[in-house]
Structures are given as C-alpha cells and as structure tokens.
C-alpha cells in the first residue's frame, strides 16, 4: 500500500503509544515484584528478591498452578475432539440447521461469562449433585470448543474437499482418510487452536468462580483470593510477572503455526 510519509509517521506514533499503554501496567507489575514496599509505594523505596524466593516456596501457588494446568489440559483435549468433529461436519456437509449449530458453537463465548457461570452453577448444584473438579472441566471444555472449531474449520475450508476425494478415490475409507490425510494437514491449526484454548482456560476466572468445586483452586482463583492479602500481594505480583514472561513463548509458537497456514510457499 502506498502511504504518504505523514500517514506512516502517524501510524508509527499510534503504534508506539498503544505499546506504551499495553506495557506500562505490565512493567509496573514486574517492577513491583521486586518492590520492597508491601503496599507497592511508587517509586519503589528499594528492591528485593525476597518475593521471588517466597513465591517459589509457596505451596498454594504450586498446587494452584498444577490444578490450572490439569484443568486446561483436560478441557483442551475434550474441546479438541468435540471442536474437530463439529468442524469436519460443518465444513464437509451442507444441511438444514447448519447455521443454528454454528451459532450454538459460538454462544458459550459470545454470551457473558457470568451468564454461563450462573447457568452452569444452577444446573450442577440443583440437578447434578454439586460442584466438583469435573464440573469445572466441563465448563472450561464448553467454552474452549469454539476456539478449536474456528481454527479447525478455517484450515479445512482452506484445504478444500479435494484431498478427501483423492484419498477415497485411491481406496481409503473416510476414517483412514481422516487419519492419513485430513488430520496431518490440520495438525498445525489444531496445535494453534489448542494453545489458544489452553490459554483461555488457564486464565478464566468468572466461569471458574461459579463452577469450581469446594477445595479446588486454580491459579486465577488463588490470585483472586490472595490479591489483597498483605503478605501475599507481592507473591501475586511475582506470579503475574512470571506469567507474563512465560506467556511469550507459547504465543510466539501459536503465531508461527498459524502463519504456517499459507503452507506450501
């Protein structure tokens, strides 16, 4: 695109400003994780590694982290199966009600989390005997399906139906075709979707609040419970800073994988 010099400079400036807007708060979090002051006086009166040391020793954080990873992994796995099945069905078949199904798929993410949370909470507690680890996983899987579905169906649309026909023409049944041809070609899209779904589940707090059983604490729940605890707030900052730093890796990965969609060039 041919842009005037002024336009380029303006856009560059906007970019820089937005980056500032995005990163200053995160920077404050990271700096505060070294802040000596318990109440995060600004500018910091001094710096310390104590909070990082304490965070590493903190049993609550470690357990919450494990819970979160566990929930996110199971939810992502379920979503992978359900999302892929739906994507295959909706991209390869035209049928009455298809539109309604794609609406149903996006509903869990389009309706506000508190509605989903309250609805699931009411059903689980008044009809299905209360909240457990399972109810949390179920809730997370439900809103993760759409992420997998979107990635999978975008890839399937790009792929076209040709490969499936070619494979069947060469003697492979649909099942064989899926595992030998379709799946290998959507693998990178599924991985990108799974990374997104994992992240979504890992950080979810609203639905989680309403669907986690007693005694189950995910990392966001731990953070929520400890955010204002005077002894814990610095550790929360450490956890946050660590999350920010760790998050760059899977994100970069996901980015690379979805760029890969253009594939053969």
């Amino acid at each position: 695109m041919i842009l005037s010099r002024t336009a380029k400079w303006t856009l560059g400036a906007v970019f820089a400003l937005v980056m500032l807007f995005i990163y200053v708060p995160l920077l404050v979090v990271v700096v505060n994780s070294f802040n000596v002051s318990l109440t995060f006086q600004w500018p910091p009166p001094g710096f310390t590694m104590e909070w990082w040391a304490r965070a590493i020793d903190n049993v609550g954080v470690r357990e919450a982290l494990l819970t979160s990873v566990g929930v996110a992994l199971i939810a992502t796995t379920i979503a992978l199966v359900l999302g892929t099945l739906t994507a295959v069905a909706l991209t390869q078949y035209a049928f009455f009600g298809r539109q309604s199904i794609s609406l149903l798929i996006i509903l869990p993410i389009a309706l506000p989390g508190i509605v989903t949370g309250v609805a699931l909470n009411t059903m689980f507690t008044s009809w299905l005997g209360g909240l457990t680890y399972l109810t949390l996983v179920v809730a997370h899987a439900t809103f993760c399906i759409v992420v997998i579905f979107n990635n999978a169906s975008a890839r399937l649309r790009r792929l076209g139906g040709n490969f499936v026909e070619a494979s069947m023409d060469l003697g492979a049944t649909r099942t064989t075709t899926f595992w030998r041809v379709t799946f290998p070609n959507m693998r990178s899209a599924l991985v990108a979707g799974a990374v997104l779904a994992f992240g979504l589940s890992f950080d979810e707090i609203i639905v989680t609040t309403f669907t986690a059983g007693p005694g189950i604490q995910t990392l966001p729940l731990w953070i929520f419970n400890n955010l204002f605890r005077p002894q814990q707030a610095p550790i929360v900052n450490v956890v946050a800073a660590a999350l920010i730093l760790v998050s760059i890796l899977p994100l970069y990965l996901a980015q690379r994988l979805s760029d890969d969609q253009t594939g053969d060039r």
Partner: protein, 289 residues
C-alpha cells in the same frame, strides 16, 4: 489407523451411502455436549427467572410469577438505567478498541517490516496471556488516587469510576480486537490497494473506501468479543469501578440470595447479546470469529 479396502457391505460403505448417518455420527457427541451442558442450563436459568424464593431461607419456590421481570423492567427501579449504563460501557469499550486496533493493525500489516512482523504481533497479543486479574489489579494500584503510579508520576489519576472501567476493559480486551483486524488486513491482497492508488486515490481515500470495507467483517468479529466480554464483566467493576455497578455485578450480588431475580437480569444481558448478534449476523462476520 490402518484400514484395508472395505468390502461392499462394510460399515464404511454403509456410511458412505448414508451421508445423514455419517453426519449424525460426527455431530452426535458435540451436539449432545453443547445442548445438555450448555443450552439446557441457559434455558433452565431463564425458567428460573419465572420462579420466586422463600422470604426467609431464600430457597427457590417453583411458582410461576412475572414479578422478577416486572421488577427488572420497572422504570422506577434502577435496573433499566443500569442496563443502559452497562450497554454504554460495552459500546464505549468496543469503539475505543476499534479506534486503537485499526491503525495498530494497519501499521503491523502494511508498514512494519515483514521479518519483524511476527515479533511485533506477539508483543501486541502477549498481554492476552498475562492473568486477567493481575492486569486489573495493576490498574487498580496505578489508578489509586492516593499515591498510585499515575498520581505520583503524571500528577493526576481518574480515580475509580466509570472512566477507569472503560480504560481497563479496553486494556483487557484490545488484543481480541487487534488479532482479527490484523489478520483481516493481511488477507487484503496488496493489488487491491495498488489498484486504488493507481486510480488516483490517496492514502486516506484508499483506507476509507477500499481497506476499511474489506476488514469490516473482521472488525465486527472482534467487536463480538469486546462487547460481550465487557457486557458481562463484574470483577473489573468491583476493582476499579468505585461504587459503580454493571449488570454483571447485579447478577453476582443477587445470585446467592435471589436467584430468580439474578436470572431475570442475566436474561436481560442475554437479550442484549442476542440482539447484538442478530444485528451483526447480516454482515456474515460471525463466520470469521
């Protein structure tokens, strides 16, 4: 998975001849899941809004009443105003996100050096992965009118209130707008923009008449996220809203004591969201989510 050539009577051949059966097989599991574990609870919640509670124990009493909806819609009660305020916040967040995301994506997609692009995009989207709570909390400490980061470095702070809510929600959901808009801009063939320049359009004109219409579906897709996520939020409002309340807070606050009323308020947000989805469904942007 290894399968040999299937004999004519095999299940594979049967399924081939019956696309309906094949489709049913594919959709059975996901649809059962979504209907039983999502649609049914939502419907049940809506049903609950027609019931009432015991005045002492707060337990549900399954007696049909329109009282909860009457109260939500009663103009002398504050809930319609709350709904309007919530709507205003969701719209503001969406509009501000668009205003920020469009130039940002334009810069990323068309100006930034291609080899830097993945890195820059990652930089923009990374905050998505930093914990939601931590980000809100960071803003709470920054906005503190007594000795917060903004007050001590810039000398002023908006304090806690509606402005803070819009700023923080924009901060939270901006990546959800940037991602689709950026992808949308990348998918616009450069030749179209060249053609526009070739036909005599300047940057602004090309942007307005060619680029913007082409990325409109992406913008709308992004707006579903910014709008819906803002519409249902209550934690951000709790932390930086001062005494402000949105619909989400009313649901959260009454859910334990008066579930039918909470359900009626929740139905109101669902209604707003369905209205929004319906309004944008004509654009075909929902396929782009």
């Amino acid at each position: 998975m290894t399968t040999t050539e299937a004999p004519a009577g095999s299940p594979a051949a049967f399924l081939y001849r019956h696309p309906r059966a094949r489709l049913t097989g594919l959709l059975a599991l996901p649809m059962t899941w979504l209907v039983l574990l999502y649609l049914v609870p939502i419907v049940l919640l809506f049903v609950t809004a027609f019931w009432t509670t015991d005045s002492f124990t707060g337990n549900l009493q399954r007696t049909f009443t329109l009282e909860n909806f009457a109260r939500v819609l009663d103009p002398s009660q504050p809930f319609l105003t709350t709904a309007l305020r919530t709507l205003a916040v969701a719209v503001s967040v969406t509009v501000v996100s668009i205003i920020l995301a469009v130039p940002l994506s334009l810069f990323l997609a068309k100006i930034a050096q291609p080899r830097w692009r993945p890195l820059l995009v990652a930089l923009v989207v990374t905050p998505l992965w930093a914990s939601y709570l931590v980000k809100v909390y960071a803003w709470r400490t920054m906005l503190n009118p007594e000795g917060g980061f903004l007050e001590s470095t810039l000398g002023f702070s908006t304090g806690y209130g509606w402005v803070a809510v819009v700023v923080v929600l924009t901060y939270l959901w901006l990546p959800y707008m940037v991602l689709p808009v950026y992808v949308g801009m990348q998918n616009v063939p450069p030749s179209l923009l060249d053609a526009s320049s070739d036909l005599g359009a300047r940057s602004w004109r090309t942007f307005r008449s060619v680029l913007l219409p082409l990325v409109k579906p992406a913008i709308i897709a992004g707006s579903v996220f910014t709008f819906s996520l803002s519409l249902g939020d209550y934690i951000t409002v709790q932390l930086v809203g001062g005494k402000a309340q949105m619909l989400g807070n009313v649901v959260y606050g009454t859910f334990a004591t008066d579930l039918p009323f909470a359900a009626a308020i929740a139905s109101l947000t669902v209604l707003i969201m369905i209205g929004y989805l319906a309004a944008i469904s004509r654009t075909g942007a929902l396929e782009n989510l």
